[in-house]
Structure formats: structure tokens, C-alpha cells
Amino acid sequence: MEDNHKESFKIHSPEFNHLNRGIDRRNFLTKTSLGLGALALGSLMGNNLFGKLPGKEVGKSPAPTLEDEILRAIPHFAPKAKRVVYLFMAGGPSQFETFDYKPKLSTMFGQPLPESVRQGQRLTSMSANQSILPIAPSAFKFNQFGESRTWISELLPHTAQVTDDLCIIKSIYSEAINHDPAITFFQTGTQLPGRPSIGSWISYGLGSDNKNLPAFIVLVSKNAVKDQPLYSRLWGNGFLPSEHQGVQFRSGKDAVLFLDNPEGYDGKDRKEMLAYLSKLNKLQNEPYGDPEVQARIAQYEMAFRMQTSVPEVMDTSSETSEVFDLYGPDSRDPGTFAANCLLARKLLEKDVKFIQLYHQGWDHHGGLPKGIVRQCKDTDQATAALIKDLKRRGLLEETLVIWGGEFGRTVYSQGKLQTDDYGRDHHPRCFTMWMAGAGVKAGLSYGETDDFSYNVVKNPVHVHDFQATLMHIMGIDHERLTFKFQGRRFRLTDVKGNVVRDILA
């Protein structure tokens, strides 16, 4: 950046006189005791012990930290996918009405769930007190599609058309039984808030190919039923440097909040201003070495570049009507799931590493048949369109598409079971999600559940296993991407997680 301010930095104001006198006593003590020690250590070990980082800026510190060492080893192996788009179906979509076909249930309408299946496993307090747990078969028909002859519900006619591109996992399971812990678990690897999201880990580990856009972008559907809240900490950076947090793009006038120049300011000297601000920040940071200052400098510069790159990528005027037709009528209305899928494709074309879409409204404790018809209508066509569009543009070869919620739903009806109306409670012990594209086997159904889709009977995949597999496809060994915080090294999969090699292409 330009720098028209060559004179040395000094604040000419009486309040800052003590600053101008030099560093104060406390700072002096800290700096000399720690600084001399560090200096001695540095000369003992030799500044060139670790060599120089290729392509990565080390800043002014001569000895790379443990973090630098970890990052330099990435990618641990050649990545199959260069980008991820994760369609998060928040609320917990029912596996019974979508992918997990259970024909035997149709003869068991209203019968109580056998104790041999439940085996005393816990239920939520919403249905634990029900006098009977009546079996509710799917109200919707299933058909077989594709060369893989996969059973898919009639609610997903478009997804059914791309079934040979999907790798469906029917045996994923979680430990969390309520929304917030479950979704936090999926996104951060732990049920308690405060850890970095998957996208933040990926951004931290792999960086970005496109410096003009954030590596981790979040899109939330505006047209969904907002039955369960989404907190921005789900795409938070946790303890990782804050430039790795997900940046939410909104529909409407400002895609990214506070990105536009304020009224009455033409922005001509913005670059110069930022250059000087950056100089001030660096000056300030020299004695303190606070990584958050570095992060703030990076964010200012990113925001400046985004003033041009974001309007460019949000502009859909160059898309043909054939593309809008592919994604469905909603895609002309910015902020809908369909429009977000189209935007996701445009962001993928710009080499954004990790794009997370959220679509709420899958929490059908009651009125499931009506509710799920609407959910599927809002998402099915655009989801399939995204896969097709990526495929024909040659992007599916390098992009991993993921679809799934935070848990599944119970085989029994919550509340009264009627022929045309029923509900399903939370069920984390087995549910379905799918992946498609780079790195996974297309046309595969992996894992099996019992006839009640209550327990996994073959090839269970834990949330941590899913996360480990996702990292593996991106070229990262999930055990080796760690970050030391408060005396402990953390990783996305905590102390667990096995790569599901059977689904890797």
C-alpha cells in the first residue's frame, strides 16, 4: 500500500507526552526480562535452525513458532478437494421421509416401538412422558433411481436425478440430543461453544487462493422457517486468529455489513488512510506481539479489497436465464436457499475455500408431512442444480458438496399419530447425510440402520469420523492440525475421529 507518511511516528498532544518519553516502567521490565531471555534463546538455537518459510510471511520474529511448524507441514498429502460447500439443514431433517427407506414400517402403523429396539435409550423430555411411542411410517413413497438403484423419497425428485453423484451415509450418529449442542458439535467438534468452526480450521490450515475474498463464507437462507436459532458463533473462529472467522454474506443492499463507504465520503483516500493505520498498528504491535493486532490489520486490508470483489461476485446479471431455471424460480430472489446455491457456485468459481449454507426449518416435532414438503420444495431443486452446475463447469472434480443436519428423527410419532399428520422427536443415534464430488465415491450408499432406523447395524460413522474424513479429503491429517490454547493443544476432532476410508474415491 502507498505510504505518504515518512516521518517517524509521534503523537503531538500533551496527553500522550508520557508515551513520547518512551516506554513506561512496567513495559520496560516485561520487555527486558522476557525480551533478553528470548534473545538469548534465539541466538542459542540459531535463527536459521528452521530455515525460512516458503511463500508464507514470517513477519519480524526470526524463530518460527510451533504454529508455524504445524502450518508449514500442510497439506499433509495431496488434496482431492480444493473447496467445500456445506449445505447445513438446521433443525434435523427426518431420514424417514428423505433417504432412509424403511418399507417394513408400513405394516406397523401405530404399533408401539418394541422395547428390544429402544433398549432403554434416553429420549428427550418432549416425548419421554408419552404413554405410547407409536410407529409412524413415512407418508411418502420411495422410488429407485440411477445406476446405483438408490431409494429416494418422492419429496426429492431433483436430488433423485443426481443420485449417481451422491455418496449417501445412512449411519452417521451423534451424541447430542438437542439442537444447539448438536449443531455446535457438528460445526466445532465439541458440544460446548467456543471452539473454531470447521471452516475456520480449514481457513487457518490451508489459507486462501483468492486474497480478495474471505476463505470462509457463510450464507443463511432468508426463506426458511426460523424454528431454531442460528448463532454466529457457529461460524466463529474460537481461539484461532480472528481473520479465520466465517464472513456472513447477506441478501439485500449490503451483502457484507459496513463494507460500503459511509454517506458523504468518496473513498478516494481510503487506501492511503489504511496504509497509515496499518503502520500505526504495526508500531503498536511491535512491543506487544498480540496476534489479534495482526488479525485486525489483515481484516482491514481484506475489507478494502472486498469493496471491489464483493459487488462483483454478488452481481448475477451475467447469468443466463437457463441458469436461473436450473436453480428454480426462487433463485431470482436474493437470499433464498436457491439464490444462495447459485451464489455459492459463483464463490467457488472465485476459489473461496469453504462455503457454508444454512437452511433452517427442519425441526418437525408436529405437522411433519406438511412441513417437510415445504422444506424439500425450498431446497431440493437448487441442491441438485448446484451439483449439476458444478459438474458441467468442471468444478465438481475439485469441490466437495455436503448435505446434512445435526441429527435425525425418531421412528415413533411425537404427539398424536394420525394418517395425515404426525411429528417426530430428535434422534441422534442414526441419521442420513450425503457428500458429493471430489474425493468421495459417487453412487455409494454407506452404512445401514435397523428396520426402525433406530440403531446403526453396519458401518457406523461418528460426527468426528465425518470431520476427520472431510479434513482428509482437503489434504489435512486431522490429528496434526492443532492449535495450542490455554496450555493444551486443540484440534477439530478433539481426541477422536477415524477417516472413513471406505467412502474415499
Binding site: K52, P54, G55, A73, I74, P75, H76, F77, A78, P79, S106, A139, F140, K141, N143, E154, L155, P157, H158, A160, Q161, G207, S208, D209, N210, K211, N212, L326, G328, E349, K350, D351, P369, K370, V373, R374, C376, K377, D380, Q381, A384, K388, K391, R392, R393, G394, E397, T419, D420, G475
Partner: protein, 471 residues
Amino acid sequence: MSLLSINITEFAGRFHPVLVHLPVGILLLAALFIILSKFERFQSLREAITISLFLGALSAIASCVTGFLLSKTESYEPALLFKHQWFAVSTALISVVAFFLHLKNRRTEWIAGMIVILIMITGHLGGSITHGSDFLTKAFTSGTSKGGEAYGNPILNVQESHAFKDVIKPILDARCVACHGPNKQKGKVRLDEPEFILKGGENGLTIVPGKPMESMVIKRIILRKDNKDHMPPIEKPQLNAREIDLLSWWIASGVDFDRQVKDLEQNDKIKSILKSLESGKTTVVTVTSFLPEQNVEKASEAAIKKLHDRGVAIVPIAQNGNYLSANFVAVESFTGNDLQMLESVKKQLIWLNLGNLGLTDSNLEAIGKLFQLRMLHLQKTKIGDQGIKSLSNLSELQYLNLGATNVTVKGVEQLSGLKNLRQLFLYQTAISGDDLTKLKRLFPKTYIETGGFEVPKLDSDTTVLKAPVIK
């Protein structure tokens, strides 16, 4: 206290492999001096005989002591060990005798000859213990050479063959038995005969029938190589994926020593691996590798920095390799000259993304020189048929994206020599209909993508919202 003394004996014992070379060298030299000093010219060597015999005898005794200690801490083949031990003791004794005879000015030529013979026998026995008794002769027998496959010859009919004897034993023989067999039993484990395999070692069972993932042998084989418990030790030939799969399969199917392959349950993967044993080839289908098989020297840091400073995202493909990927997505005001920078990394560059840039035909010549390219994105650029000829030299190319460019069938035809091309993207180009059929014939192994999907309407289509139909 006792723990400490055990450790000291073990520690001392470990010096044996170093010490043994001293008496071998010194005593052979002493013998040579004794013979040579008979000749007038080498009379002066007589002076050196005393000291060399003394040092030789001393180091021989030290070797005997350390060797004895080592034999107590590790388990070796008893018969070989017995012979080695007593030949070694004889060598030490006779060298002491030689020393005293020499001091008394007696004739020592005959004893020098004996020393030479004893050293050769003892040394050979010692070598057999550590390297295996067939170490010398192995060079003449083909098949199980270092790092090669466990199977010397293809199995004629694998389903009819013996599961243990024909399929599993060759793996164990090639990868394990050198240290866990008749000669050596590291960790008291033997993997050469059924009775020993089931018996286990000092850490308990090595194989749990039916449970490969609980069997120590599998656990240690798949352990990461930097773990000290990994087997085989990293400097030794490793099992390949196919051998690990077979071993796991055999353990999972219950560790049977008698039945034939066809009697054991097999999934598709195992079936295909077993089938491949018949042809002697690793895989039935030939797969073009995702990455080059040979590694390459490091690209110059200055060249990388130059690209980096220009805004090109240039990153290594993977750790432990020097191959690079370059992405121009964030390069501002791109010109053709920027491509000249790639020349200096042409040996390393295998993935290149130039999509969405103002690239023209004249720029493609520079790209044609990047002979290592596996993956090339040229979509949404201004290139046409003129420049595309330059790409016909990129013989390693597997993925080529020409979507939304001006290329026609005439241009693409020129690439028919690219035998490794697996995916070709021509979406939003003028190519369709007959042209496409022609290309598909010209590139029989290539997946050609032109888009143009249509979603057929289904009867059960619920995207037109209708009330749920309940049976």
C-alpha cells in the same frame, strides 16, 4: 537396584555389534604380519606383531563378554547361537595363546592360520544370526528380494489355493519372519508356523482370530511410521496396502490354517485383490496416477516469491513433495507476460488455474512449455482454435477445462494425442451435436462434459407444491 543392573548389562551387550569388528580386523592384521615377517623385506613388521596380538586378544575377550550379555537380553536361534558362542570363545583363547607363544619367540605361523579360519567361521555365524541364515544365498534366489512383492510367482488358481500356505505365509515370510522366525524371535514372537502364530509373544497374543483390529500384528503394521512400535521397522521393507488387506481378511475370517481360499468369506475388494494374485499384477485396471510417481527437485525460492508477490497463489501440492499448484484467480491486471514467470517452475508445476483471465491464443505458447501439467483451467478466457495446438505437447494432462471459450471441434481435435486426458470440459462452447459425437469417438477414454442437462418431470414430482398424499 536390580532394574538398574539389568539395564547396564543390556546396555553393555548392545556394544557387541560394534566391538566384534575390532578383533576381526586386528587379528587378521596380526596374522598377516606374522606371515609377512618371514620375508626379509618385511622383517621390521615383527615389531608390530606383539602389540597387534595383544590388542586383538583383548578385543576378542571384550567381544565375547558383550556378546554373552547381548544373548541374554534378546532371543536368538539357540543352535546358531551355541555355535557362534563357542567358536568365538575358541578364537579368543587361541589369540591369547598366540600372544604368549609370540612373547616366547616360538613359531606362530600355524596359529596365525588357525586364527584366520576361526575368525571367518565365527563371523559368518554371527552374521547369520543377525541377518538370517539365507542372507548370503538370497542374492542368487529370485523372488523375495528387498522391497519387492511377497509373491514371487503368480498363483494359478487362487480360489482353489490354500489360504494360509499360498496366500498368507508368503507375506509373513517376506515381511516378518526375518526377525520373528526360527533365527530370531524379537519380543518372543514367531510368525513362521501355525503353533507359534497362535501362541503370541511376551506382550500377549499377536493375533486375535476374527478381530484384525484387535490383533497386535495388524495394529502395529498400520501404526504411523513415526511411532516406535510400528512394524516392520521403518528401515525394513514395508507391507503394501494389498498385503495388509489380505492379512486382515485372513484374521477376520478366523485364522484358519487348513482351508482353501474359496471356503473363506470374501467381499468384492478382497476378491479383486485375490484375483490380481493370479496375474501377478497389482491392479487389474490401469489407473493414471494422481501425482507424478517420481519426486522432483525443489523449485527456486526466488521464483516462488516472484509469483507470490504478483498475487499468484502458488502452494505445494503436498508435504514431502516439491510439486506445485498455481492459481491466478486473484492476480490484478493480468498480462501475457505474467506467464513467463511460470517457466522457472515448469518442472514442479502440475496444477494451473488461469480461468476467468484475459488470456488469448498468443499466451498459450508459454503454457505449452509447462510439460508436467496434470490439471489445467482455461475456462472463461478468450482463447480459440489458433492457440490450442500448443497444448498438444502436454502429454501428462489429465484434466482440461475449456468451458466458455471460443474453441470449436477443429481446435479440440488437435489434442487427440493426449493419451492421459481423462476429463475434458467444453460447457458453453459451440461444440454440440455431431461435433460432440465426433470428439467422443476421438477421445474414447475421456469423459467429455458439455452441460445441457434437463430435469425430466416425474409423476411424483412434488416441487409443484401439493398436499401430501397419505395412504
